[in-house]
Amino acid sequence: MEEVHILLRNKNVEHMIDASVSMKMGGYDGLRNALSMDGAKVIETLKESGLRGRGGAGFPTWLKTKFAYDAPGDSKVVVCNADEGEPGTNKDRVLLSSDPHSIFEGMAIVGKAIGADRGYIYLRAEYSYLFPLLATALKSARNLNVLGNNILGSDFSFDIEVRSGAGAYVCGEETALFESIEGKRGEPRTRPPFPGTYGLFGLPTVLNNVETLANIGPIFSNGIEWFRSIGSENSPGTKLFTVIGNVEKRGVFEFPMGVNLKDIIYEVCGGIAGGKELLAVQTGGSSGAIINPGQIDIPLDIDHVASSGGRLGCGTIFVIDDSNCVLDIVKNTLEFFTNESCGKCIPCREGGVQLLKLITKISQGKGYVRDIDTMIDLSITMRETALCGLGHSTAIPVMTSISNFREIYDKHLDKDYCPKCSPKEETPERGLND
């Protein structure tokens, strides 16, 4: 199976940090076209392209942009979410390091759409080594006047700053990200007000994922028709997939939306490593659904994955072989979420820990049927009442693993030993700020 490289088109080009090299490769052509449009026309183009957010929720990019466009105010902001925090995911890192100008270009076009004069890239703290690279790239973009005052001779001015937090997963949630940039404790805000009207520094804000932004330049240079010809009807374009876990070949791959999950695992990635059998797949990062081998024959686009109870999310595919136990995987995920909960709202702060305690109890063979029921109940409450996406999605791996692997859960009840579960231990210590 051949990859389709649109976002990764410049992956092997040398010196892509240099804006002039980027421009030779067609970089900033989209911006040049967008500069001749007014804001409404830019948004119209985004709408017709059908581009949807690549960060997780799959929200239509044009609509997000329009919220900020419609919001009153002279000062507006564009934010690039480069806080790629999903465990195992590194597609944004690949884009940031291999083609940073495609991201700047996307930000400038969104800035043009809403009339923003500045943008922020919120860089994941663990990616701090990219700071100098981005600074160099920004400098060279300013030198060639594709950023800065009166871009390419137009009356549009736009510049970008890079900011970073202290490494909290929750700061990938857009409002927590704003709080972090503002120098506050990284906690999500209650909504409404929505970022479109009250975002970073209280200004109307459009926030997009790195990958979403990288799509915008090509749309404006190659046209709507070209873009819609790739991918599926409701999710046009390509998607970056980070494949991790027990496959022969791991990495970041680019395919049109709608590519089959089974094909990615077996054809692109060479199947399960070491001659073992497939046990489960988690799509969309730690907050994604855990599905069984009978469920992997699905097209990967935003709506299909959503209708099967999970989400395409950031496109991470975590392949798990049968030397593992699903409970162990879920436990690991819950440890992650309890460590990363900011502690602001009760369902997430208290619920995550209780889920972890319950699954630990079950995995140690000390559980009862009612504990599984309690987990389901608690998952529903967290999903329905938590303040932000972190609390909502903590429940997803729990609920999907129970419905897709119920027999494995049942096997653990009232038995004291699962050969595949990690060695028995007491409820894990939750260290401070770890």
Partner: protein, 574 residues
């Protein structure tokens, strides 16, 4: 106006109100824990979730605004189930010791538990934070184990009072509200105002309980001498179940005598004494080119705030002690002598609306009589507990007058309870002393009310006296910054740490602005109903100057009724 349907009832409501507010219009009280009507929306407890058409997930009623055509359900089985589950989660991380909790039967968590019919065993493992209870502060007891992280105290401490002692620490399950750097409250900039206690929905922040100290000293055979602050008489009945603003001056005396207090005096007397000293100090500063603006010093929360954050400017503070401390000195000197009691044998106790007074009475400077001037401060809350514990049906009590010789205060002293009251009382006296004329219109409406900053100018025989009144320490900070930059050309500024003044104090029953308003109305009513409304007209004041102090600012006055301030800047260092 927009149309919504809430629990099956069509209703026209104002656009932009929250679902919580809309539900009240159809007489549904959606349970809330983090929400407080006087504070910003937190939306963190998620107890108030409701169903909204078009929304997949439940939405918090406290923050979700209504919109045209919205259909809302506030109590479906799905909602009740979610609320109960959240309550269970709270319980799983909260001590199960309601029976001996200070907040028993006044706890918001407890009452919601009762309303939601929480009667089944908790399905989750119960674990508390294992934090030691911080009893270091003389004013506030902090039990982090009971905290539900609603964030109310954080807003009060940081945004309203700008003291900045309480903030969140750690993350997730390990999140706690705590003073910085692992310090105990006593070692922080905490000014002891107790406004955090006023907003805490549970038993995490409570008043430091000194009731046993009173019982102990009674058992030792000490003579219990009490003074009752102006605002206490307006709030103690409320603390015992009456409507806010129920005045019960003479019933308090009855109850306290029944409990075992030997003498019960009226702090109005020493409020008048404060006016005499402070008023004359102001006159002296104006006429002799002293440091201006002079600022009031009767609020111990404000005094500590100034000593901590503005230590270079404490010379603006009047040197006059607060009414409580003046009375303390007088009781163990003048009164002891007059009544023939050995001051050693007196246990001096004041009933205050204030938690910071507990700190004040323990200040090392407050030993002018040769003993600790005031031995213990009981807040209104604590006295009400003592009355309850004695089984007294407070509402049915007969009246008893205050004891002589300090039973008669003026209306001016009464005003100390409300923001602007000290200023108004001072103006009544300063005007007459400075001009030698009788003040006809004694009600200074410009300094009444709840505006953050109130200003007035009074022509006193050609001298224009400019005054300002602020309440809450956030406002105090603003005016101090103006004083420092030379943009506050006032002669006299009244500062009260608590929003609304003492009547909204941290030692009073749980406040909200509506209650504080009702109480304040009664403060002014009491002033109106008194025959003597100016401090210098009070016979008790005349008597003490004739028999003991000779005149305001005399040597004796200075020794007993005035104080010094310290620099507390170091407390801000790590």
């Amino acid at each position: 106006m927009i149309n919504i349907n809430i629990d099956g009832i069509d209703k026209q409501v104002e656009n932009g109100i929250t679902i919580l507010e809309a539900a009240k219009l159809i007489h549904v009280n959606i349970p809330t824990l983090c929400h407080h009507e006087d504070l910003t929306i937190k939306s963190v407890c998620r107890i108030c979730v409701v169903e909204v058409n078009g929304q997949n997930l439940l939405q918090p009623a406290c923050s979700f605004p209504v919109a045209e055509g919205m259909i809302i359900k506030t109590s479906t089985p799905r909602i009740i189930k979610a609320r109960k589950n959240i309550m269970e989660l709270i319980f799983s991380h909260h001590p199960q010791d309601c029976l001996n909790c200070n907040k028993n039967r006044t706890c918001e968590l407890q009452s919601i538990a009762e309303e939601l019919n929480m009667s089944n065993p908790i399905r989750y493992e119960v674990e508390t934070r294992g934090k030691e209870i911080d009893t270091s502060s003389p004013s506030i007891t902090f039990d982090a184990n009971k905290c539900i992280l609603c964030g109310r105290c954080i807003e009060v401490c940081n945004t309203i009072q700008t003291v900045g002692v309480l903030a969140k620490e750690n993350r997730g399950y390990n999140t706690v509200v705590a003073p910085p750097y692992g310090k105990s409250l006593i070692d922080t900039a905490c000014v002891n105002c107790g406004q955090c206690v006023q907003v805490c929905p549970v038993g995490a922040l409570t008043i430091h309980d000194d009731i046993n100290l009173v019982y102990k000293n009674k058992l030792k055979g000490k003579i219990l001498v009490a003074q009752i602050a102006p605002s206490s008489r307006t709030t103690i009945a409320e603390a015992l179940g009456a409507e806010p603003g129920t005045v019960s001056t003479a019933r308090i005396v009855t109850a306290m005598k029944m409990i075992g207090f030997d003498y019960v005096f009226d702090t109005d007397f020493s409020a008048d004494l404060t006016i005499m000293e402070e008023g004359n100090e102001l006159l002296k500063r104006i006429t002799t080119g002293g440091v201006l603006p002079m600022m009031t010093s009767c609020c111990p929360g404000w005094v500590k705030f100034c000593e901590t954050f503005y230590p270079k400017y404490t010379d603006h503070l009047s040197t006059a002690k607060s009414p409580q401390q003046m009375f303390g000195s007088v009781i163990k000197t003048y009164f002891a002598d007059k009544a023939g009691i050995d001051p050693e044998n007196i246990f001096s106790c004041s009933v205050m609306p204030c938690t910071a007074k507990k700190f004040e009475c323990n200040r090392p400077e407050m030993k002018a009589s040769g003993y600790q001037d005031v031995d213990v401060v009981l807040t209104v809350h604590e006295l009400s507990r003592m009355i309850k514990a004695a089984g007294i049906d407070f509402a049915q009590l007969e009246d008893t007058p205050f004891d002589d010789p300090f039973g008669l205060g003026s209306g001016a002293g009464e005003l100390f309870a409300a923001t602007g009251g000290v200023m108004e009382a001072a103006l009544r006296t300063v005007y007459e002393v400075l001009t030698g004329k009788t003040l006809e219109n004694i009600e200074f409406n410009a300094v009444r009310g709840f505006d953050g900053l109130k200003e007035a100018q009074i022509d006193m025989n050609g001298t224009i006296v400019k005054v300002a009144v602020v309440h809450s320490l956030g406002e105090a900070r603003k005016i101090m910054d103006r004083v420092i930059s030379g943009q506050a050309d006032y002669h006299f500024i009244e500062v009260m740490a608590c929003p609304g003044g003492c009547i909204g104090g941290g030692g009073n029953p749980i406040r909200n602005w509506k209650k504080v308003e009702k109480r304040t109305v009664q403060v002014y009513e009491q002033d109106k109903n008194l025959s003597i409304r100016k401090s210098h007209d009070s016979p008790a004041i005349k008597m003490i100057y004739d028999e003991f102090l000779s005149e305001p600012l005399s040597e004796k006055s200075h020794a007993l009724l005035h104080t010094k301030y310290v620099n507390r800047q170091d407390i801000l260092r790590i």
